[in-house]
Symmetry: D2
């Protein structure tokens, strides 16, 4: 599966509305938390949630994440891979297998 | 810029640790909120934050977002684009230009 | 049970450290979200959490809530009661009994 | 100022709706994060927010905090005071004065 790059359309959307002025890293960080909570709200009282709504709310979190990545000159997929090498070292497969404990309790 | 697809490595990382059992949509939604708040913490008392830390915390949010997208069979870039067409209709450029108001106050 | 008023000690704690300068409403709102996520983290992978830790993290959320209430000249118990009368009207007992639906779906 | 105890009315409100079944500690922790983000949303693009809305959203966070405290048999004011003695030790006034650094960087 190839990953569709939404960045050109995201940037055009922001430019057409002159919204870059609001998109400071601090404001984008707040926005990510706010949208993450709207996603969480779908699971507030139950383990199950309407999947169409999950897609929409997850899209909102991802949108602000991509905008913040763009703002700091980073590429989302690369950020994930860079962090993954750190996490691999913190959670060695043989120690972490089948456990949800934090790395300092493995 | 082409977007690196981190999904094959993410899936391998999870499989090697047998962690898919913990990654229910509800748990991933909680995880996204938790990591979003760690990102926000970098801006708790100031508009400025250490960029290396921003990259790491943003990577954590993105990681759980990609895992949730994968779990529901969605592709992150496509989710963003699907939502963007809805948002375009809610925030017409000529009305929303230069304003941070919610769509129902434009 | 009478409610202990922690405000005099909270105010003294903040004054001794000259921290009121950081406690703008916006920063306190961020702090409440950050601490709320630390509480949530105790339930990230399980319905059960260590109760001593729940007490500590809940205390952190409450502390910032009380500081924000104080900052805007409000009394926490009174805020709750004022909102409760609004919520009573939105969720009439006979309609809402035993249901976790939002008021617009009752 | 004496603190009004909202607990008797809160308990009656929940009982009349038979909602205690939904109020597990895990669900209340999610609810606190969700409401905290609605408070944060008032400050999403600006340092200033409508004060009537701040009071309402802060009330929602406080309500779930009081319900969780009640659920674990704790008293909100006492929780704050218990935690405050720990925080006093971590942030000695002479070291922390006028600084927003974390305790491990003082």
């Amino acid at each position: 599966m190839s990953t569709e790059d939404p960045l050109p359309q995201l940037r055009a959307f922001v430019d057409e509305r002159d919204w870059a002025q609001f998109h400071t890293p601090a404001n984008l960080a707040k926005s990510i938390s706010i949208e993450a909570a709207e996603l969480l709200e779908l699971f507030q009282w139950s383990e199950d949630a309407d999947e169409a709504k999950v897609r929409e709310e997850l899209a909102d979190v991802l949108t602000y994440c991509f905008l913040l990545a763009d703002r700091i000159g980073a590429e989302p997929g690369q950020l994930i891979l860079d962090k993954l090498s750190l996490t691999r070292a913190k959670y060695p497969a043989e120690k972490a297998r089948g456990r949800s404990d934090k790395y300092d309790r493995l």
